[in-house]
């Protein structure tokens, strides 16, 4: 069995009197695309927040790349190699595509917060060369100097991926990358993720079942804050609990 890159052990979190997450054990192996699915309100977003470090658990732990990162803040987890994209497009709309990505490259380089007060960024050729590479990777080479606010929705999502890539992650945490995209854009996004999956481990949270079953090596199902099943797509598709709890007639 491959080494687990991300391992979540006995994670629990309560909000008021509600168990948002209950004793969740979950792992992502290096190199795989692992999809997390579940009905609305199952706790997927809460779970993602605990993985990324936006929220801290009541109990349990999160391990990443061999280290316990439970107590680490979001930016330290990013520095450790965990990058995320957002459910809602979250790029700097007033900046050009390349400035957005350059910011991400700089974030990785300055992880130890080296402060540079004097040299104009525009003269840092290497920074922009690298940023351009990521834009090429996600197919935005024609849009390098376009202000992000003027990009189409699907292009903005691709830009966000480029920013995530620029942090040179060991693992990409993709939170509903297909949300709000049309059929054509979705198809492009699936291709893009397939392409990225050759280089990087991916934890994918997604509603689009066609995309999930096409992309995922393994699928985990979260229902009411509990993980009810993990396995290969065919096994999950056949699992009776999953059908009853969630999938219904979709499959």
């Amino acid at each position: 069995m491959a080494e687990a890159l991300l391992e979540v052990r006995n994670l629990s979190r309560r909000f008021a009197a509600v168990d948002a997450l209950k004793d969740v054990n979950f792992s992502v192996d290096a190199g795989e695309v692992h999809a997390l699915i579940g009905p609305n309100g199952a706790g997927k977003t809460t779970f993602i927040h605990h993985v990324s470090g936006a929220l801290k658990p009541d109990s349990g732990s999160v391990h990443f790349a061999g280290a316990d990162v439970t107590a680490l803040s979001m930016h330290r987890r990013v520095a450790a190699g965990m990058a995320r994209s957002y459910q809602i497009t979250n790029v700097f709309l007033g900046l050009t595509a390349i400035d957005n990505v350059a910011l991400a490259v700089q974030g990785r380089q300055d992880a130890g917060s080296s402060f540079r007060f004097w040299k104009p960024v525009r003269r840092e050729v290497a920074l922009f060369d690298e940023a351009r590479e990521y834009l090429v990777q996600v197919g935005l080479e024609q849009r390098i100097d376009t202000v992000a606010g003027n990009l189409a929705h699907g292009e903005q999502r691709a830009l966000e991926l480029a920013m995530a890539l620029a942090t040179r992650p060991k693992m990409l945490l993709l939170d509903e990358p297909m949300a709000g995209t049309g059929p054509e854009e979705s198809a492009r996004m699936v291709e893009l993720i397939e392409h990225l999956a050759r280089h990087v481990t991916i934890l994918l949270v997604e509603h689009d079942m066609a995309a999930v079953f096409r992309l995922a090596d393994r699928i985990s199902v979260l229902v009411n804050g509990q993980l009810i099943c993990t396995g290969e797509p065919e096994a999950v598709r056949a699992n009776g609990d999953v059908r009853r709890a969630y999938l219904g007639d979709h499959l």
């Binding site: 930016h75 990058a83 957002y86 979250n90 910011l103 007060f117």
Partner: protein, 315 residues
């Protein structure tokens, strides 16, 4: 938002301005208006103070109502230095910057845990604390403030001559503006501007947001401290009134009039507000009413400040 970027005409304009400002005291003396050199110095000092607030508020996005505290700490540090026998500005001014910057570091470390309105209020609370401490510290003059027996020397040259002090302030402002302009266009400036727009995103890109904010806040505090030390030399007094929240309000008003987030917003605002004061005082003892009405007019009809009329907003 787009990142700050120096306009193509910025360099020639800046050089022309520098020449005009360098010639100003001699020009004033030539037409027998040397009296105004003091006033011009005051404008430069407040331009520096308002610019330091611009770094924190306009570029860093931290709405602080406590900036006067750092201004005041700078003034008191200068006066205390003199009391302790240090009369050389080359020592006293850096000390004022360090003291104000260190105080800003402490205030920031606590305040930056909060957001929005709570941040405004907690910075304001710290100003009040500094004010009351100054008022009750009898060895530092209490209510009356701590007077300077005379102006300091700068590299051995006495600042007692108004023109000398003018050039000290001129030099301080020039270096600050140069530093500010470079900083805004460098990596650090981009980061704080981006944090102002979306701090969660920046955190998700791996930036230690809190640290960047804190550094920016402390830098602003240190620059305000320099302005305070200069002002103490100009007026001959470190007054507790410098620490009042209304003083923060005045700096804020200058910056808003000039244009928040424009490189020259603070300087332009200081010039306008102080000139306005100077002119209005000549017309009526109740000039505050007129000033208030003008400010209301700015809010309602020129909400982005005067600098917005000339250039694109970088923030």
């Amino acid at each position: 938002m787009a990142f700050y970027r120096p306009a193509p005409y910025q360099k020639p304009v800046a050089i022309a301005l520098l020449l005009v400002l360098a010639a100003l005291p001699f020009g004033l003396a030539a037409v027998d208006q040397a009296f105004y050199i003091g006033f011009a110095t005051r404008v430069l000092i407040f331009a520096l103070a308002a610019t330091s607030l611009n770094l924190v508020l306009g570029f860093g996005g931290m709405f602080s109502l406590g900036h006067a505290a750092f201004f005041g700490v700078g003034a008191y540090t200068a006066a205390i230095c003199q009391q302790a026998g240090i009369n050389e500005a080359l020592i006293a001014f850096p000390l004022a910057m360090i003291a104000a910057g260190a105080f800003a570091l402490v205030v920031g470390a606590i305040s930056l845990r909060t957001r929005g309105v709570y941040f405004i209020m907690i910075t304001l609370a710290f100003t009040q604390m500094a004010y009351y401490l100054a008022v009750s510290a009898r060895s530092w003059g209490g209510d009356d403030g701590l007077p300077l027996v005379g102006r300091m020397t700068l590299a051995g040259v006495s600042l007692a001559d108004d023109t000398h002090l003018y050039f000290a302030a001129f030099f301080g402002l020039t270096v600050t503006m140069l530093f500010f302009g470079r900083l805004a266009d460098a990596r650090f400036g981009r980061v704080i501007q981006a944090i102002r727009e979306n701090e969660t995103r920046m955190e998700a890109l791996g930036y230690p947001v809190f640290t960047y904010r804190l550094v920016c806040f402390a830098l602003g505090g240190a620059l305000a401290g320099l302005a305070g030390a200069l002002l103490a030399n100009l007026t001959g007094l470190a007054s507790p009134n410098l620490l009042l929240w209304t003083q923060s309000g005045t700096l804020l008003v200058m910056l808003i009039i000039g244009g928040v987030g424009y490189l020259y917003g603070g300087a332009v605002g200081a010039l306008i507000l102080l000139c306005l004061e100077e002119v209005l005082v000549g017309f009526t003892p109740h000039w505050h009413i007129v000033l208030g009405l003008i400010l209301l007019g700015v809010v309602l009809f020129a909400p982005k400040g005067v600098a917005a009329l000339f250039g694109k907003r970088h923030g």
